[in-house]
Each structure stands twice: as structure tokens, then as C-alpha cells.
């Protein structure tokens, strides 16, 4: 009897524990319309009832860049590898913001969606994936803003030199998305049990920014700390991006490969943890 039940062609089998590596990506693909609708929802709802609307996408990085230029450039006089300060900080801000947003928003996946997750089933991974995509839209808007300023500075004869490394940009984006997603879903899985982590995240991301060459070039780091800063998987990404578009700094393919490997590992750990938590998280929240 038990044997015959096993043999029937059930389309759904629910057991207490799933296989750790059964990430059910096909199911996620079936729900792709939902992912896109989440993206649309986030995009449409964020700036409803604001006067400037989507212009905030541009205003935010601009204000940050101006602040950085004044404080770190003019007051603290940090070096910028000889690049125009405004462009230097803008490039750092635009690229860092994508990673930052991906991480902080995905890290709230379970806590922010308790109500929804408690009432209906869909692959939970749809939420973090939709966050990556909606942040990608923001990133492109800000990236275009960066390109416009780049062109402006080039025309006015600044010493910037975009080169073929720029072709690597999509890979850099994937790496940042992966790192943000990986860290984000690990944290979101752990916050179902320990709410403390939510506060740690905001603070941690801020600290991580100072440990990444966003407001200073990697070359400004004393030799004895060079290895330390290269352990940070975001370092090669920011440095490569800057070298590709501005022509100053450095590109080390080996460091990039390290970052890429780091990203793969963190995404896998995150996915396994997330998969594990999503089955029973409603009991602990």
C-alpha cells in the first residue's frame, strides 16, 4: 500500500524537511510574473504622493556626492588618484548604493512580509529577487546620470580615460547583486530568530563602506593594510569600476576572481539557509 502511494505521480509532496540543495528554481521561474509585478509595485508605490517623484532617484546620489566632495574632498582633503573629486565620489556612490540597497532591503524579507507569507504560498525567493531587479532600475538611472557627468568632464578636458574594462560592467553588477543577495538572505534568515540583526545591518553596511575604497582610492591605503582591504570582496568591484570608466586606480584579475568566488559561496550559503528557514519561519516570527 505504502509502496503504491509512493509510485503515483504526485505533483506536490510536502515533507518535514526538504533536501538542502533542492532550491526549486523552476518553481521560481513559474512565478516570474509575480516577480515582475513586485518590481512594478515597488517602483510605482515608492514615490506616489511625492512632488518630485522619480527625480529622487537622481537627487539622492547627487546630494550624497556633494556632501562627500565637501567633507572628504575639501575639508579632509583625501586623495582621489588625481581624478576630479566630484566624479570620483559619484562613481563610488552610484556603485556602492546598489550593493547597499540590495543588502539592506533583502535582509528584511521575512520580517517585512510576515503578513503576506502567513496567508499565501509562493516561492519566498520571489521577494529578494524582485528587490534586486527593482534596485537595478534605480542603478541604471543613476548610472546614466554618472555617464552624463563623465561626458561633461571629458569634454571639459579632465584627465579621465574610460577604457575597454568598461565592458566588464554587467559582470560587476551581477557580482554586486550576488553579494547583496547572499548577505541579505543570510541576515533575513537569521532575523526570523534574532531581531537584533536588523539594527546591526544598517550600522554594519555603513562600516563596510568605510572599509571599501568608496571615499578614498585603494592606493591611499598603507602597505600593511593592503591585504586586509583586499579581503573585502567589494574592493575589487569598486576599484575595477572606477578604473574602467575613469582610468585611474588598478585592476587585478585575480582579485576579481576572488570576489566572484566569494559571491558564489555566499549566494549558495544564503540560498540553503533561506530555503531551510522559509519552511517553518511562520512558527517563530
Amino acid at each position: 500500500m505504502a509502496q503504491s502511494i509512493e509510485n503515483e505521480d504526485w505533483t506536490l509532496v510536502i515533507k518535514p524537511r526538504r533536501n538542502l540543495l533542492d532550491l526549486r528554481l523552476r518553481e521560481l521561474w513559474q512565478y516570474r510574473d509575480l516577480v515582475l509585478l513586485f518590481v512594478r509595485r515597488d517602483f510605482v508605490s515608492v514615490y506616489k504622493q511625492t512632488i518630485l517623484g522619480p527625480f529622487w532617484y537622481i537627487i539622492q546620489p547627487l546630494l550624497t556626492t556633494i556632501t562627500f566632495t565637501v567633507i572628504f574632498g575639501r575639508v579632509a582633503k583625501l586623495p582621489t588618484d588625481g581624478l576630479p573629486q566630484f566624479l570620483f565620489y559619484l562613481s563610488g556612490t552610484v556603485i556602492w548604493r546598489y550593493f547597499d540597497e540590495c543588502l539592506t532591503k533583502t535582509s528584511n524579507t521575512f520580517v517585512n512580509n510576515t503578513n503576506l507569507f502567513g496567508k499565501v504560498y509562493f516561492p519566498r525567493m520571489a521577494v529578494p529577487v524582485s528587490i534586486l531587479l527593482s534596485n537595478l532600475i534605480t542603478f541604471f538611472v543613476q548610472f546614466v546620470l554618472f555617464l552624463i557627468f563623465l561626458a561633461f568632464f571629458m569634454l571639459s578636458g579632465s584627465p579621465v580615460a574610460p577604457n575597454l574594462w568598461a565592458l566588464l560592467t554587467p559582470v560587476l553588477i551581477i557580482m554586486m547583486a550576488g553579494l547583496g543577495l547572499g548577505f541579505g538572505i543570510i541576515i533575513s534568515s537569521l532575523t526570523t530568530k534574532y531581531r537584533d540583526l536588523r539594527f546591526l545591518v544598517q550600522f554594519g553596511v555603513q562600516l563596510l563602506m568605510y572599509a571599501t575604497p568608496v571615499i578614498y582610492p585603494a592606493s591611499a591605503i598603507p602597505a600593511q593594510f593592503q591585504t586586509l582591504i583586499k579581503l573585502n570582496p567589494m574592493t575589487p568591484i569598486v576599484e575595477t569600476f572606477r578604473f574602467a570608466f575613469l582610468g585611474a586606480g588598478s585592476v587585478h584579475p585575480l582579485d576579481l576572481a576572488y570576489s566572484f568566488g566569494f559571491m558564489i559561496v555566499i549566494v549558495l550559503i544564503g540560498a540553503v539557509l533561506f530555503n531551510r528557514v522559509e519552511a517553518t519561519f511562520m512558527d517563530t516570527v
Binding site: 502511494i5 503515483e8 505521480d9 504526485w10 505533483t11 506536490l12 509532496v13 510536502i14 515533507k15 518535514p16 524537511r17 526538504r18 513559474q30 512565478y31 510574473d33 509575480l34 509585478l37 513586485f38 512594478r40 509595485r41 510605482v44 508605490s45 506616489k48 504622493q49 503578513n115 503576506l116 507569507f117 502567513g118 496567508k119 499565501v120 504560498y121 509562493f122 530568530k193 534574532y194 531581531r195 537584533d196 519552511a279 517553518t280 511562520m282 512558527d283 517563530t284 516570527v285
Partner: protein
């Protein structure tokens, strides 16, 4: 018929003390207190008795097994805390079982709430698409049914207005409308019929019956026994996490109601008599011959009086009177109406009164009885039996008049005639 859902020994345990939202600092405080042998500092004073139970396991479901055939409409009933919701949550994959396996064939859509995921800033149109996708429809499916969904909800005029400007009624109607147009092979419903005004509820009930009629499998959880009787052929009854009854809906509902009213109902409160004649037992039977304590209005029942008589009683009449809870006599049932008078034979026997269609609205009743022989009363009791009515199939639709206007239900037919006809 093929089995489409198979629930095999499913159990779900919750650990006490793990339910509270934790922070790392609280965890450390608890650990420190435990090391020093003090009670858990997070427990409130009135929870002290729970302190020893930390880590103890509460079984919300225990070894529940059943199968659902294709096209079956299965009611799941039980008191609050009986494990209904946990079972639904496991079936709809919101949480995983602690042990046991659950198998299903075909797409499952569960409606534990209407309007899940509605975003107040989005328009009705945008929310229909979003909600549809959350419930498992893809974009094309929603587009195909969009007109129908909007029609059914009756909010056409406001479809491009953000739903936060909707009245709560409009909101619920639109939300239900999306849900009602899902086309899964298996539909799980939880009390969603309890929303909206009476008109809309009726519309929903009709829609549900339609869905069931199309041969899809429906699991329906509700406290509304009338809706359960109308929609479901079979039901399972959960109590304290275990499945205690499953089968035909009437039978299961009887069991449910008798379980719940045990404390109020005292059967045979004053069976009395003398050494010549006594009623030894009084009870109701359904058509299947099972003893019941809550007949379904509109169904057939038999009222049975078991007696013991020393002598043969000639020219006898048996009569019972049904009183409602106000002690108002509702109906007098006399054996004279069937066959004049008859003989009650000596020894043990039964007096059986068949009621082909119980015409009683929802409330509790008691029954008085009297037996006469010639012009002598040999037995009298003002209360030999209590029962209550909580479900009805008296009228073909869900209609049940308010108890304050209707002491009994009367069959009726209406015709509306215009002047020109």
C-alpha cells in the same frame, strides 16, 4: 475516482517558549537566569506556571490522516484551537509539518484571507494583477479573466482609483472576486464567506457551489454549519489536534455539535413514571439510524421513546410537545393524528415518531411527553429530551429567517405577477 490529496500521519508540534519574538539580549538573560536557577525573566507573572513547561511540546496536530478524492467538497470543522488552521497552513505550504507526509496532484490555491498583498497605493486594476499573481495566476490568465473579475466585483467605475480610496465593502468585493476566478485543481477556503453584505455572501456561496460543480476539489473550513451542509458532501472533524470523525457531512456535524453542547444538554432530565409505566430512554435518530443531538433543519428524523410497562394499555395515545428555549410550545405531535388510538403492549417497547422534514429555526429546544390510556394519564414529563438546531437545509438556498420572526419554518412558493399578465 482518483485520490488527489493524501494526508499521511501528519503531525505538527510547537515548542513552548519558542514562540516569543527573541532578541539576542533576551536570550542571554534567559540563559543567565537558568544558570542561576531562577525562573525565566521574560515570563509574565501570570505565566509562572508555564515556566516549567519551557521546551515542552504542544501538538497542534497529531497523526492526522485522510484522503480526498477528485471533485470532492470536503468540510473541515472543529472548535477554535482544534488544529483546523494548522492543517490549512500545512496544506497551503505556509509552514511545514513536524512529521508525516502530504501529497497532492494538481495546482493548489489557498484562500486564507481575501485581498492578501493588496497595496493601498496601487489602483484596483494593478491590484487585481498583483493579487492574481500572488495567488498563482500568470499575467495572461488574469488578462483573460479581467473583465469577468471586475464585473463580478461591481467596482468598474473605480477600477483605476487607488484601493485606499475604496470603501471596505468595495475592497473586499474586488479581493474576493479575484480569488473566485482562480482555476486551480484544488481550492482551499477558510471562512472567506464571512465577508461582505448578505447579498454578496450569497453570490459567493453560489460561486463556490459552481466551482465545486465543475469537478474541482475543494477543502472548506468554516464555522458556518449551514454553508458546510450546503457545499460539502463529506467532512472531517478535528478536536485537540486529532481527527475524531470523518464521513458524511450530516453525521460529522452531529458529532461536532454534540461534542460542543455536551455541558448544556442533559438528556433525559426527568424521565419519570411509576411502577406501572416508565420511559426508560428518549432520543433522536437520523435516517442512518444514528443517535443525534442536533438535527439538521429540513432533514428527516425519528423521535424514539423507549418504555417499560407492567400492563397492556388499551386505547393509548402518545404525544410530545416541542418547546423552544423561551418555553413556548412550538408543536404538538400526537399519535391520534396517525391512527387514532392504539394498544401499548406490556413489557419493553418503543414509541417512534417520524418527522419527515424538521421545520425548526436555529435555537435550542426541549421536548415534553405524555401517554394516556383511555381517559387516564399514565405518564407525563415536561422535559424528557433536549436538542438544538444549528444547521439547515430546509430552504434550497441559504435562507434562514431570523429566529425572532419565525418560530417554525413553513414551505412556501412565491409568484410575482404584473398587471398585464
Amino acid at each position: 475516482m482518483a485520490t488527489v490529496i493524501s494526508v499521511e500521519n501528519v503531525s505538527k508540534a510547537y515548542r513552548l517558549g519558542l514562540i516569543d519574538a527573541r532578541t539576542l539580549s533576551n536570550e542571554i538573560r534567559v540563559a543567565l537566569a537558568r544558570m542561576r536557577g531562577k525562573p525565566n525573566p521574560l515570563l509574565k507573572v501570570d505565566q509562572e506556571h508555564l515556566a516549567n513547561r519551557e521546551g515542552e511540546i504542544i501538538w497542534a496536530l497529531r497523526d492526522v490522516s485522510f484522503k480526498v478524492e477528485q471533485g470532492e467538497v470536503l468540510g473541515i470543522i472543529g472548535r477554535n484551537g482544534s488544529g483546523k488552521s494548522t492543517l490549512l497552513k500545512i496544506l497551503s505550504r505556509i509552514t511545514a509539518p513536524t512529521s508525516g507526509t502530504l501529497r497532492a496532484k494538481g495546482r493548489i490555491a489557498s484562500l486564507l484571507e481575501v485581498g492578501t498583498g493588496f497595496h493601498p497605493d496601487l489602483t484596483g486594476r494593478e491590484n487585481v494583477y498583483l493579487n492574481g499573481a500572488i495567488l498563482g495566476m500568470n499575467r495572461d490568465e488574469v488578462s483573460r479573466k479581467f473583465e469577468e473579475i471586475v464585473d463580478f466585483s461591481g467596482v468598474e467605475t473605480f477600477i483605476d482609483t487607488p484601493v485606499k480610496r475604496y470603501s471596505s465593502g468595495m475592497y473586499v468585493r474586488l479581493a474576493f472576486s479575484v480569488a473566485a476566478h482562480l482555476e486551480p485543481e484544488i481550492l482551499i477556503l477558510d471562512e472567506v464567506l464571512a465577508v461582505g453584505d448578505a447579498d454578496f455572501q450569497k453570490k459567493c456561496l453560489k460561486k463556490m457551489a459552481e466551482v465545486a460543480g465543475e469537478g474541482r476539489t475543494v477543502l472548506f473550513v468554516s464555522h458556518n454549519m449551514t454553508a458546510v451542509v450546503q457545499l460539502c458532501r463529506n467532512a472531517v472533524l478535528l478536536d485537540n489536534g486529532t481527527l475524531i470523525e470523518m464521513g458524511q457531512v450530516d453525521k460529522v456535524i452531529q458529532r461536532y455539535i454534540s461534542n460542543n453542547t455536551e455541558t448544556q444538554i442533559s438528556i433525559n432530565t426527568s424521565l419519570s413514571g411509576n411502577d406501572q409505566f416508565s420511559i426508560t430512554d428518549a432520543y433522536l435518530l437520523n435516517t442512518a439510524g444514528d443517535r443525534i443531538q442536533s438535527p439538521i433543519s429540513g432533514s428527516e428524523i425519528r423521535l424514539v421513546l423507549e418504555y417499560e410497562s407492567r400492563d397492556t394499555l388499551l386505547n393509548s395515545t402518545a404525544m410530545v410537545t416541542i418547546y423552544n428555549f423561551h418555553n413556548t410550545p412550538i408543536a404538538h405531535l400526537n399519535s391520534k393524528a396517525s391512527f387514532g388510538s392504539a394498544t401499548i403492549s406490556a413489557g419493553k417497547g418503543k414509541l417512534i415518531c417520524r418527522i419527515p422534514k424538521v421545520p425548526l429555526p436555529y435555537t435550542s429546544y426541549h421536548v415534553g411527553a405524555a401517554i394516556t390510556s383511555g381517559d387516564r394519564q399514565v405518564y407525563h414529563s415536561s422535559n424528557i429530551l433536549n436538542f438544538s438546531v444549528a444547521a439547515s437545509k430546509f430552504y434550497p438556498n441559504s435562507y434562514m429567517p431570523p429566529a425572532s420572526y419565525s418560530l417554525v419554518l413553513v414551505e412556501n412558493e412565491w409568484i410575482f405577477q404584473g398587471k398585464n399578465e
